[in-house]
């Protein structure tokens, strides 16, 4: 194996050297999420010479991402994160292989994508993806480097490394909806994911090369505001290592940037002078069985974002049966036009009926 001069500082590093460098260059790392955590992780993995890097992200660059996702430029707003990241990383280090995977990780694609890699970096921003990555990695026997942040606090661990604990050994169950604030309502200081994502890159290097002590078996908590660190020793629970297949779905409250509206608030809006577009994104059959007055049908399955954006006021409320599709539709709309204010109705029509009965429902 040839070690270009660019790695000389690592090859000359005591405790690292040519052997560890060769391990990096023959390793394959998958980074799920090219956002706040993924950007710094990707930059350093590429710089250090990880041989193959997979970049998974189905999202586009938004103006509000730029305070922390410093790989992206203002002129690239609206472009695919994964594609822009892959292009720049290939320029940063032309000798490595970058696999561009422009999708969100899902139940359908997770196993197929992860299978190809030695180590996974969980750089996602929602619980749903985190449980999916955990379960897929347990099934495939792959270690993954966990990182998560909220405000000034960051968590890092290495999960599923050999007999080590998994994410479910720390948090067996999803938080319930509304339990934990999402990153939009909580806000984030740009450098915080930078620090945690960089830690994830460091842990990946340790796992790949065997140098030092990894965070496997521990959760490391960084209180970056007060400069405190806390470490928790974890226990591997055998039942969490026995996952054989993925769940049918991983619906959980995600860190969507879409604020939600409770049925009661929507009721107040509908009874007020407020000007907004209420979009029902269910299928036609569902809509015909009962929908809210003033709601306009625009099924998610055939979502015509241009047409919606053209007729819209700058305030849109999306609504579906249970509150999942409406978030997807809201995200599409918001990606298309970042200036539109979009709310999704929490719990959808089912929650409306629970709270409001048949008020304002017509068929």
């Amino acid at each position: 194996m040839i070690f270009p001069e660019r790695y000389s500082r690592q090859i000359n590093l005591k405790g690292f050297g040519a052997e560890a460098q060769e391990k990096l260059q023959t390793s394959k790392v998958l980074v799920v999420g090219a956002g706040g955590l993924g950007v710094p992780a990707l930059l350093y993995l590429a710089g250090m010479g990880v041989g193959t890097i997979g970049v998974v992200d189905g999202d586009t660059i938004g103006i509000t991402n730029l305070n922390r996702q410093v790989l992206y430029y203002e002129s690239e707003v609206g472009m695919s994160k994964a594609a822009v990241a892959a292009k720049k990383l290939a320029q940063q280090n032309p000798s490595i292989r970058i696999n561009l995977i422009e999708v969100f990780l899902s139940v359908d694609n997770a196993l197929g994508i992860i299978e190809e890699y030695d180590v996974v970096i969980d750089a996602t921003d929602n619980f749903s993806a985190r449980y999916l990555i955990n379960d897929a990695c347990v099934i495939l026997g792959k270690p993954f480097i966990y990182g998560a942040i909220q405000e000034y606090e960051g968590h890092v661990s290495v999960f599923n490394l050999k007999d080590g604990p998994t994410y479910r050994c720390l948090y067996p169950d999803y938080p319930s909806p509304g339990e934990i604030p999402d990153c939009n309502t909580a806000g984030v200081l740009g450098v915080v994911p930078g620090i945690i994502g960089t830690h994830q890159a460091l842990e990946a290097v340790k796992v790949i090369t065997g140098i030092g002590k990894t965070a496997s078996g521990y959760l490391r908590i960084f209180d970056l505001l007060n400069n405190d660190q806390y470490e928790v020793k974890l226990k591997a629970k055998p039942e969490n290592k026995r996952i054989k297949e993925l769940q049918d779905n991983y619906h959980a409250p995600n860190c969507s940037t879409i604020p939600t509206l409770k049925p009661k608030q929507l009721f107040e809006w509908l009874n007020s002078e407020k000007e907004f577009l209420l979009l029902d994104v269910r299928e036609q059959e569902e809509y015909q069985q009962g929908h809210l007055v003033k709601s306009v049908l625009q099924p998610l399955s055939n979502f015509d974002v241009r047409s919606v954006a053209s007729k819209t006021t700058m305030l849109v409320v999306t609504l579906c049966q249970k509150g999942g599709r409406s978030i997807k539709a809201a995200n599409i709309l918001r990606d298309y036009n970042h200036d539109v204010q979009v709310y999704s109705v929490e719990g959808g029509m089912e929650q409306w009926q629970k709270e409001m009965g048949n008020k304002l429902i017509v068929s």
Partner: protein, 79 residues
């Protein structure tokens, strides 16, 4: 007993650390969670808290003594 708070639990309580008197007679991790829920009703919503006792992950049935240092660690998901 000292209880270090992280994430949303720190926000709810409004402090980084709580000191709970022995008079409260809290004997297990599960009882501590119940006590917190009563005292801070917003904690009620948190069903996925991790708890550490003296820096080790602890299940609800683990017993507590006054000398223990407990940490309440709600999950965070941002990135």
């Amino acid at each position: 007993m000292d209880v270090i708070l992280f994430g949303i639990s720190r926000e709810i309580v409004g402090m980084k650390k709580l000191t709970i008197s022995t008079a409260e007679n809290i004997q297990t991790v599960g009882a501590l969670k119940q006590w917190m829920k009563q005292k801070y009703p917003q904690i009620e919503k948190l069903n996925s808290l991790a708890v550490a006792v003296d820096s080790e992950y602890a299940d609800d049935d683990q017993t507590l003594v006054d000398e223990n240092e407990v940490a309440i660690i709600p999950p965070v998901s941002g990135g």
